[in-house]
Amino acid sequence: MRIWKEIACTLFLVAVTAPAVTAKVYVKWTQSTAPSATVLGVSDLVIPWDDAAKGLVEAGKKQKYRVFLEVKLEEGPAAAQAASTAGIAGIILKGEASEANQVEERASKLRSAYPKLQILVLSAGGRQPELRGWLVFKKDGILQVSSPTSQPWLDANLAMIRHERAFQNGRTPLYTFSWDRSDEMVKARGPSAADYSLAVAEAGAFHADLLLELHQRQQKGLASGDKDALANWNEVKRTIEFYERENPGATEAAARVGVLTNDYDSSYEAINLMARHNIPYRVLRSADVKARDLEGFELVIAFARPSEELTANLREFAERGGIAVLVNVPGAYPWDSSAPANTTAHTVSYTVGKGRVIELGEAVTDPETFARDVRRLMAKERIPVSLWNSLTTLVTTYPGQKPGEVIVELVNYAEEATQVQVQVRGNFGAVAVESPERGCCQALKAAQVDGFTEFVVPDVLIGARVHLQGPTASSALAEAKPKP
């Protein structure tokens, strides 16, 4: 009963603040001619703001795209001025990670000055999503650091997306990345359709917008109507269409862990590994956190020194049964006056009311172990979603828009059909999966075990979305006919 109350509370809290979600793909274009918007399957083309921009803008407009300019921070005013008189939809401001505040400030001023122009901000720190190896190539040789107990290394943008969502006042993050071209085949031929699709699926599943860079060869092929290029792109287009459709999930993923931070650097490595371990967390800007923001979490990790008010809130949070972990923020805290419950080489732990406060006396030096620790600290029976034997897959759950509905997004970085075993907290009567390749929807057999619903998604190639509905909800999803 208590479980259902908690689930209902979490779903309600998120759903009331959540508009319908769409994830947009903007395509960056650098060739003098462009294919039609129907061929690309996107409506927004992004042109770099340089000497060639004028011609490219005309080429894009001719093909009925909404054209955006990608501009550096200092070029913003000039580009906005030019865009406002040239029928351009908007500009995308980009800066270094260290310039995040200036970019936001500049964007705000430009929005006031040019209200008809869309002023978007490109998040720094995006990386090519991929299942990586561990080899590091250096001067024709290989530099290799061996770490046999590590999980597969996934380069993912989930941590960055969650961080950006917290620091951009809830706006949908927009990010990009450059393709790794160290491999000769990739350099010559460009990324595969699966690589492009993974990038699109990742952004879509985690509810972010993506500025997708296309290899020159791919652009030329599409512009000239090359058969292979078109066939290749059709696979990507299918994924874009899937994730650009209105998503039934809420904007914010369900979370049991709160991450309190004031900057990217102090927390990034830890939250990146937490994302890879499928730990359901939400990032909160430490300076703005109020007591009510901590409700619904069972664990809070503070990477920034808490204010007096926040310290009091953390104490109350622990007294109610929560666990607060303070990472490398030494200070005089109210719980310090009691005797530590446990002391190790790195930590001092205090019992506070029904809960605990753990002070980690140094920065997170081993994010993999830290992420495992976070998972161990969470009560097993409250984890919203877990996967088995799917180390290359990231998962997030979102409250759906229908009562009792939960949406599970899966992204498989291995880019190969993988059987994924899933356990979702709660008892659901209808479970159905849809994917870019198979459309909507295939009913899945599910078992209810100890307050969880367990099922197997037979073949997650890159992305899949699972819809779960409560036992009393309509089973319309499961009965839906496959897409022709």
Binding site: V145, S146, T344
Partner: protein, 343 residues
């Protein structure tokens, strides 16, 4: 002798100059990754024909996928799963690869006095909850499962049959299978004309074929829990494997490690990470677990009984123990003889 040593030093000293003066290498690099056997396999090839290299890598990966279907204990339809289901009742016929890996495993069990044991799987499963800070198995549970463990209860009947002499025995090839797969992948690459390649099985076993352009061997930096020893090996037609117990919790949670000592049935307690260089992936993979389990004192004796092998044990505090019968493990810029006074 003295003259020779001086000449050798002079030649070695001149190598960087020659390299620096050489024109930029143009040999293309083809590098691919694939998730197989629960880990990420990587193959990097330097070859004048990138397409040929790419195809050769795909064939090598296909071979590892094939072996996974033979040796997986997660897949119910694998040959190993079938063996685990049936070999208690009768001598089960198995494919040549599986027979060979089990045969090699038993050999390493004998070399290590039973410390290396592919039948330890049931105990590993028993300790899995404790690995996540949950319940520690009772002594009675441990005792019961220890009856299922013991390489001597595996009977190999040439040329292709295996029988278990324990009703609850289960084989797990996790401590040797990846190394064997690396060796087969190397064979496939060679058969397809590849000379210079590095094959990596998720960091646990790495094999160097030939060398990168303008280099004499593949430089591999090894696991260093102290972060200041920086051990390195140069691989050329040999392999290195690393074993390490699961690191302790940072926040004081009592947890067990994933490597179980077959002698007492409990998670191994060791301060070391261990790396071993050997002629094949199979050998280095099997020996890495063995040498971690036996520790440096007994481990050095095992290394010295092998041809062309070298091992290094490193603790988080920076303590090192080494042994070699050929390959050199360098510590930072210093060869091991200088650092250790010769082993």
């Amino acid at each position: 002798m003295h003259w020779n040593r001086t000449l050798a030093c002079a030649l070695l000293a001149s190598v960087p100059v020659l390299i620096a003066a050489a024109p930029e290498a143009k040999t293309p690099l083809v590098h691919k990754t694939k998730y197989i056997m629960g880990t990420v396999y990587e193959i990097a090839v330097y070859d004048d024909q990138p397409l040929r290299a790419s195809q050769a890598i795909d064939k090598a990966f296909a071979e590892i996928v094939r072996l996974d279907a033979v040796m997986s204990n997660f897949k119910p339809q694998s040959d190993l799963s079938r063996l685990n289901r049936n070999a208690h009742y009768h001598a089960e016929k198995v494919p040549a690869d599986l027979y060979r890996v089990i045969e090699e495993s038993v050999r390493y069990s004998k070399v290590s006095g039973g410390k290396f044991d592919i039948s330890v799987g049931p105990l590993v499963d028993l300790w899995k909850a404790a690995l996540w800070g949950e319940r520690v198995p009772t002594e009675a549970e441990q005792l019961k499962l220890r009856e299922c463990v013991g390489y001597k209860k595996i009977e190999l009947i040439p040329p292709d049959r295996v029988e278990f002499h324990s009703p609850c025995m289960q084989i797990d090839l996790g401590s040797i299978g990846k190394g064997y797969a690396v060796d087969r992948a190397v064979e496939i690459l060679r058969a397809n004309g590849i000379v210079n390649a590095l094959v990596d099985a998720g960091q646990s076993t790495i094999y160097g074929m030939g060398a990168p352009p303008r280099k004499s061997a593949w430089e591999v930096h090894l696991r260093d829990p102290s972060n200041h020893i920086d051990p390195q090996v140069m691989l050329r037609e040999n392999s290195v494997s690393t074993s390490e117990q699961t690191p302790a919790s940072l926040v004081g949670i009592e947890t067990a490690g994933h490597i179980i000592d077959p002698d007492n049935g409990k998670p191994l307690k060791t301060k070391y990470a261990l790396s071993i260089v050997a002629k094949t992936g199979t050998a280095s993979d099997a020996l890495s677990t063995t040498l971690l389990l036996v520790g440096p004192t007994k481990g050095k004796a095992i290394v010295k009984s092998l041809a062309d092998a070298a091992a290094i044990w490193i603790s988080a505090e920076g303590e090192t123990e080494t042994a070699t019968t050929g390959p050199q493990i360098r510590l930072g810029d210093k060869p091991q003889q200088e650092a250790e006074g010769g082993e």
